[in-house]
Symmetry: C2
Subunit: 380 residues, 2 copies
């Protein structure tokens, strides 16, 4: 990346992006491509939640009841991924581990099957691409699956990317695009000298903006197959005796196993979480017992009251200055990187908001928050 | 005295010890205390199997059918531990984590109980200190035990020490005693210029001596209790649905969970081993699910054909030179450190072998090995 101060030393930046995860880096890249002089602030780009993330691009599997608007955004962004990946690879010459082998959802027990079927029926009602499979068809596709596998579904459009490679490529792309990276933390956005400030600081966005973002802890494991040969090629998402787990196979022999979803902000790896993840994963794919356990990590996803991201203009509580916000991506930061980068860069360049952003306005909780506070008053 | 004399005149060492684990360091310490000029050779003292070991001093729990002579040695060495620990702490001022809270053996299922009872009856027949406990008495001693705990036994003389602290203290003691440490690997003991060479190189002793020592892989975990407060004080050894596991609580909040016993020499940590250790440990002590998983490691224990150590003089196959051997301690290296250090140092100083060493002569497998080779000839 360009050294601090070079190039822009005597001029105010057009855009200052706070936060160097894939979201912030993607936005900075798109801004620079639109001719905006862009500065990105992060003491350690790529070291946050994305360094722990599995990188599933799963608009279908991640579609849940009552989140139709989020599903539309996931589908929109997933559709942008092939071109985004191709462009990033072409610009940088770096492999980002983008794979389109599809996702298999697998159930083990009758209860698992019933739980999954409810969601599959909902996903089918939205016309999402999903094919239900019997156990035999499942094992034909992935012979390594446990004999216990009872049923499942193929989601051919649910893909994957390697977030660590993604961040490395975005780092190169920012350099090529002339983005300045300032490796300092930002504690007050009013100190930033730029026409437009974009806050894309994950959980750190809460104190920067006052918006209701909370940490949602996720614990995740990285395994490595003997001789680098993973015995399955689909992303496997399992319902295993009531536990949810996923296994993401990489081309280099790595398998990511995740993830817990915990309402706490620490990043401690606990024995219980590792036990539950390994138990569910080995119940689905027994061969992983022989895999090396390479890493166990935890990170904090930025969650919001409705689990959907905060995307758009926001007026700061103190000085009333307007900033752009792109955070609260929760479990969806990687899949939502292309659409977030494109549409936030459009806003930074002066465009009117794309209608797709309407449900994700950062201020949407403000009234509700006040009402909650009033309701609680008699009891406080 | 064979180990002194003209050696002093030309600056030659009296004793060269190859291997800087607790065994080699203990021997070197005792040799120096006997006035022998001692050199210890190890590129990285304390970095072998002992850095992974749990440090149980368990002459009773580790007494198995058909190993009566080994049991006598374990009991002998365990009896030396209080004085050994006191002396080492007094000399160095360092805490080695020596704890005498005793060991509780716990069973979960009827099958576990029957398996354990067979061994307890054998251990009682040897007059070893062991008290059988009902489930209620067990939980009175350790309320954190799972409600499933069915029965158990108290072994009050089975203690523990922290092997990493032990090695650190021995390092200081060697320094105080004037032992020279040469941080270079030794590949050929004939190159060592010393009156007496002691091979205490763990699994590395096989190629140095030609003796039948094989690696026995052990995988082990280190957990940490929240706020450093471990909810139990005994060493817990469990029979958990047919799986054997132990949990060793330290004063600093660490809990060591181990260990696999695998006939292989690699040091890869596998998902399956971590899963089985955590499952059994959490079945015994549910609270460990909330503990931090700090470390997962594997190391190779030095095993022998009869799982007993090799202790005494050995004639080298090449030049016929006699060397002292102290290796093959398998799962018992830490508990056997004091007796090994005392008796091997006696031999290095010219004493006749203590009768307790008779069953552990390094050459005891030679005839059998030749016979095996002859028997195989017709088929080769």
């Amino acid at each position: 990346m360009t050294a601090t101060g070079s190039g822009h030393a005597n001029g105010r930046a057009d855009v200052a992006v706070v936060g160097g995860g894939p979201i912030g880096m993607g936005i900075a890249w798109r801004c620079a491509q639109r001719g905006l002089r862009t500065v990105l602030h992060d003491p350690a780009p790529g070291s946050g939640a994305s360094s722990v993330a599995a990188g599933m691009l799963a608009p279908v599997a991640e579609s849940h009841f009552g989140e139709a608007e989020l599903t539309r955004l996931l589908v929109d962004s997933a559709a942008r991924w092939p071109a985004f990946a191709a462009e990033l690879t072409a610009v940088t010459g770096q492999d980002i581990g983008y794979r389109t082998d599809g996702t298999l959802v697998v159930t083990l027990t009758g209860d698992d099957q019933r739980e999954a079927h409810r969601l599959w029926a909902y996903q089918q009602s939205l016309d999402l691409p999903i094919t239900l499979l019997r156990a035999t068809a499942l094992r034909e596709r992935e012979p390594a699956l446990a004999p216990r596998a009872r049923g499942g579904a193929l989601m051919p459009d649910d893909h994957q990317v390697d977030p660590r490679r993604l961040v490395a490529a975005l780092d190169t792309a920012l350099d090529r695009a002339g983005v300045t990276v300032v490796p300092q933390p930002v504690t007050d956005v009013s100190t930033l000298d730029a026409q437009v400030v974009v806050v894309a600081a994950g959980c750190g966005s809460a104190t920067l903006t006052g918006l209701p973002i909370r940490p949602v802890k996720g614990q995740i494991l990285r395994l490595r197959a003997p001789a680098g040969a993973v015995g399955f090629r689909h992303v496997i998402r399992g319902y295993a005796d009531g536990r949810h787990v996923y296994l993401v196979p990489r081309g280099d022999g790595e398998v990511v196993v995740g993830a817990t979803v915990e309402e706490r902000g620490d990043t401690t790896v606990t024995a219980g979480a590792v036990l539950e993840l390994l138990r569910a994963a080995a119940d689905l794919l027994p061969e992983i017992a022989e895999y090396e356990l390479v890493e166990a990590r935890a990170a904090a996803r930025p969650g919001t009251p409705d689990n959907a991201p905060l995307l758009g203009w926001h007026r700061m509580p103190g000085d009333g200055r307007r900033v752009l916000v792109a955070t609260g991506h929760h479990r969806h930061g990687i899949v939502l990187t292309p659409v977030t980068a494109d549409l936030i860069a459009d806003l930074a360049a002066g465009a009117d908001p794309d209608p797709v952003l309407a449900p994700f306005q950062p201020g949407r909780f403000t009234a509700a928050t006040r009402e909650n506070a009033r309701e609680k008053e008699p009891w406080s």
